[in-house]
Symmetry: C2
Subunit: 330 residues, 2 copies
């Protein structure tokens, strides 16, 4: 298993701080969960059924005609490498680690690329995989460039896989409206923007033939009944979408300013997290953890990622800890 | 996608009968759902974490030390064929169709067997797969025979896969207490006995090295947060286990008697369903559906499977329809 944020139970054991005392900023999940609607007993009791309204609500929300609900975009990340012959797979790095892990495990040849290398390598790739905006750096590749890359790849039957897990805050940058084009595969995550990562829901938008192969590989009933009910309510609550976009943007800007004030100016970020490159990432992570604040540590390159504090009190607690760290390390 | 029970929305469209008017007996799921406990917001909002108490509760309930929660035993059915080199896979037939489908799709050579053929073929198989008690026939292979087959298979590094999706009603027949032996893989389904098929939960018990490979293949966060909370409550409610066992047994016996009275004596069954072989299965299925009663139709061999009616009123409704069918077809 790879390392991930959100492992609070481990931090509880490691630092001897009770669960309820932690400020967990280790994931990039919006800290304001959409309301949980009433879930009818049937949703828990019966086998889930497709086309119960979820697919229709998702098609409207995402603005695409063809999509497949999956048990978190993670499920698609694991399955896609099994749906084509072994080949050369370029991954824009640094990248959410599950992508290269899945392609490599399936036997594909992995080629790590930075954005400047893509144009030169594109014609030799069978698949190009990227996260947009990227996790953890926040780097964003412009939509026009992505569609250009896709067009070149598609000429040879190659794929462009765009993981848009963090794009709901800035949907104007999404390419999901083009996902019916052969060879363009767009992944969306439900849990991050809606603040409901426990429900395990994601979507894949792509051409129909590929979605059918993916559905066959993943099998029936992948998404739970309660999740199907809850997601329909969340998608329909369009007023709340605007509110969530606005408060994430404001909180992310405040977080960036706070980091800059304490000598940790972010090197990137998006509306759901900030990313700080620092040779001192490991001691910073440990310093914060000893104060019950969990952030996500990365090794290569050395960096931390901080999710959004949910309240002024949480911001203040983080600010105090970072100020102390700044003094001690000065 | 293969055919399955529980497709009520399709029946609604096909027969023009409103959803709430149906008596759905098309699945083998207990018709009395365990109570849904309060689900804390964190379970919906945060990424699920392992070893939050679910694994421990499951180890106690199933009586085994080593198991892996999965998103329904279906997830394990799809994954197991990817965890060994291509080989000769015997499947005890008729069998829940997802098993042969998954092994065949992965490229293994499929050999359909009846129980009498197993002893002669066993030494030439790399894997033997069976459902016990079987779905849909209800046939049960004695525990001693299974352990004997396993011992012979394990000598050569071959596997015995026992899908015990319907065994919670008769746990004394389970082999899960032996699942730490190399090459014995036991699948359990949470939803059927607990009447909570919408939550997508199953367990795999096997030797630790195999569970680790399976966990890596399936990836992180496969089981949703609310499901993890709910299942812990269900496992802990031991008084309710006895009640569920007793009322399923009584309802299944009444169902068998009712079928026999109307000329449809079951050819098999277990405490969660009855199975009726009949050349007239298709017309019977259609006759019942036109009266808003959904049963599961099988082609090869021609048969229907009926789940348990939840109440005396449902039993009476089924009895009346079967009596009418008996008269009309007499």
């Amino acid at each position: 298993m790879l390392e991930h944020g959100g492992r609070l139970l481990r931090a509880v054991r490691q630092y001897g701080i009770a669960r309820e005392c932690w400020l967990d900023l280790s994931s990039g999940i919006a800290p304001w969960a959409y309301p949980i609607p009433p879930i009818p007993v049937d949703a828990w009791a019966r086998l889930p059924e497709t086309e119960d309204g979820l697919e229709e609500a998702a098609r409207r929300y995402y603005g695409t005609h063809q999509l497949l609900p999956v048990a978190g975009s993670q499920a698609a990340i694991q399955a896609l490498p099994l749906l084509r012959p072994l080949g050369r797979v370029g991954v824009l790095t640094p990248c959410y680690a599950e992508h290269p892990h899945a392609w490599q495990r399936a036997g594909h040849q992995l080629i790590e690329l930075d954005e400047a290398q893509v144009d030169g390598m594109l014609d030799s790739l069978d698949v190009l995989v990227l996260v947009n905006p990227n996790n953890p750096t926040g780097r964003r590749v412009p939509r026009e460039r992505l569609l250009d890359w896709h067009a070149r790849l598609a000429e040879r039957g190659a794929w462009l896989v765009v993981d848009e897990a963090f794009i709901d805050n800035t949907p104007e940058h999404s390419v999901i409206d083009c996902a019916e084009r052969a060879g363009l595969i767009v992944l969306r995550s439900f849990g991050k923007f809606f603040g409901l990562a426990g429900v395990r829901l994601g979507f894949v938008a792509a051409e129909l033939a590929l979605l059918q192969r993916l559905a066959d590989l993943l099998g029936p009933w992948t998404v739970s009944g309660p999740t199907r009910v809850l997601a329909q309510a969340s998608f329909a609550d369009t007023l709340a979408h605007r509110l969530q976009i606005d408060r994430c943007a404001a909180a992310s800007q405040r977080l960036a300013a706070l980091l800059a004030r304490t000598g940790l100016a972010p090197s990137g970020g998006c509306d759901l997290f900030q990313y700080v490159r620092s040779e001192q990432a490991a001691p910073l992570h440990d310093f914060l953890a000893r104060r019950g604040i969990l952030v996500r540590l990365f090794d290569q390159p050395s960096a931390v990622r901080l999710g959004l504090p949910a309240s002024a009190a949480d911001e203040q607690r983080l600010a105090q800890a970072l100020t102390d760290y700044h003094k001690e390390s000065a």
